[in-house]
Amino acid sequence: MSWTWFHKWGSPKWFYALAGRLQPWLALAAALLLAVGVVWGLAFAPPDYQQGNSFRIIYIHVPAAMLAQSCYVLMALAGVVSLVWKMKVADIAIHCAAPVGASMTALALLTGAIWGKPTWGAWWVWDARLTSMLILLFLYAGVIALGNAIGNRDSAGKACAVLSIVGVVNIPIIKYSVQWWSTLHQGATFSLTEKPAMPAEMWLPLLFTVLGFYCLFGAVLLARMRLALLQREARSGWAQAAVRQALGGGLAP
């Protein structure tokens, strides 16, 4: 089997061009999916028999929470690629994905708190899911802080790669221990996402928003990575050509 397709991903120039082609499609898909999902979910889906209209926040909360976790896994995978195959593009992916993942985690926490007020009567409850989400936010904060603290960009990228791999090994352990802790300390409350037999008109819009969030994430990540690639490769000919082209070719070299 030929590995050239894989090593192509390590070429900044090739990745920049590919990302440029993919990004508009992802953005378009995100806009369509989110528009359909949000309008359907917020306006047309039937209210929950127990929670009334407050359940509708799951159309934002669930995609954000799913994305928050997938983003960390993505960072760890990029970390493995960065350490094993020494690909600069993977370093950049970690660097660019971390703030997006952190903001998704924050969004999930915020929507969880807003949902908690009418449901549990408190903004914050030490529920297992919310607590693991909070810890995930701390893990993101660690990666971002480490990346900012190390001056040398190559070292910063590799250090963040190691930290995300360590983090991803720990995430299941943290998750199970927090679940255990919460079942020991309080009775089971009814949860935001584990709903028995959600009717189709309730979960279909959720599917749309989840896919929409993933497409949005892809589009934002690619945009950030393209910018970071241009900065990192500012010395090379292709990056200078790309910047000139983006500026409309009006500037003399």
């Binding site: 020494k86 001056g151 040398n152 960009r153 990192r232 500012a234 010395r235």
Partner: protein, 214 residues
């Protein structure tokens, strides 16, 4: 004969600044390479790449064996004595000083080991300082402790970053002679220094960095 170290198409970039590129070099028995250039030209970076501490931005370095590396910070722990430092460094690099057959009793091995280290310390003029903690030595004496490794069994290739720093005139001359002798006996040396070497072995070459890209 195989060279000890071969580097091809080396490039190094630090914080977006290109230090050098398309650098190729090969070091075999008898070669001495002096890397020169103004401050910030990338001399230390090149040596760290050659020693294997840093990955080059592009290109490859091939070594037959790990070289002996003495950097700016020479690996001398202040809270240990000169002898303890050398014993640790020798054990770490698996270069046991003193030739003792494997069948010899442990005490004999220990004694030969010690004698070799004391001999090396005497060579660099530190007789009587063997068990003084390094924090009470002067900068020049600490440098001598690090350089005593060159008088103990070591790999054939030495990579030395500013080895003459803080040494007095006599010690500089002695080290120059020792380096030249090492090359003449089939070793190889890469070093950076700002002074003109008084003794150059036949295989001497100079590599000027920073001229083209400054």
């Amino acid at each position: 004969m195989n060279p000890y170290l071969q580097a091809s198409a080396l490039a190094c970039e630090r914080d977006g600044r290109l230090l050098f590129e398309h650098l190729a070099l090969s070091l075999g028995a008898g070669d001495m390479l002096q890397v020169s250039g103004p401050n910030g030209a990338g001399k230390t970076s090149l040596l760290r790449v050659l020693a294997g501490l840093m990955a080059p931005t592009a290109g490859h370095v091939r070594c037959t064996a790990k070289p002996l590396w003495v950097g700016h910070a020479a690996g001398i722990q202040e809270r240990l004595s000169a002898e303890e430092n050398l014993a640790w460094l020798c054990a770490l690099h698996a270069t046991a000083p003193g030739k003792v057959p494997a069948t010899a009793p442990a005490t004999e091995g220990r004694a030969a080991y010690r004698a070799a280290i004391w001999q090396a310390l005497a060579e660099v003029g530190l007789r009587g300082f063997e068990d003084v903690p390094c924090h009470s030595l002067s900068a020049g004496q600490k440098r001598r402790v690090a350089l005593a490794r060159l008088y103990l069994p070591a790999p054939r290739l030495w990579v030395l970053d500013e080895p003459f720093t803080a040494l007095d005139i006599q010690a500089v001359a002695q080290l120059e002679a020792h380096l030249a002798a090492h090359c003449e006996q089939g070793g190889a040396v890469v070093l950076t220094t700002h002074h003109l070497l008084g003794r150059r072995p036949p295989g001497f070459a100079e590599l000027a960095l920073g001229g083209a890209t400054a």
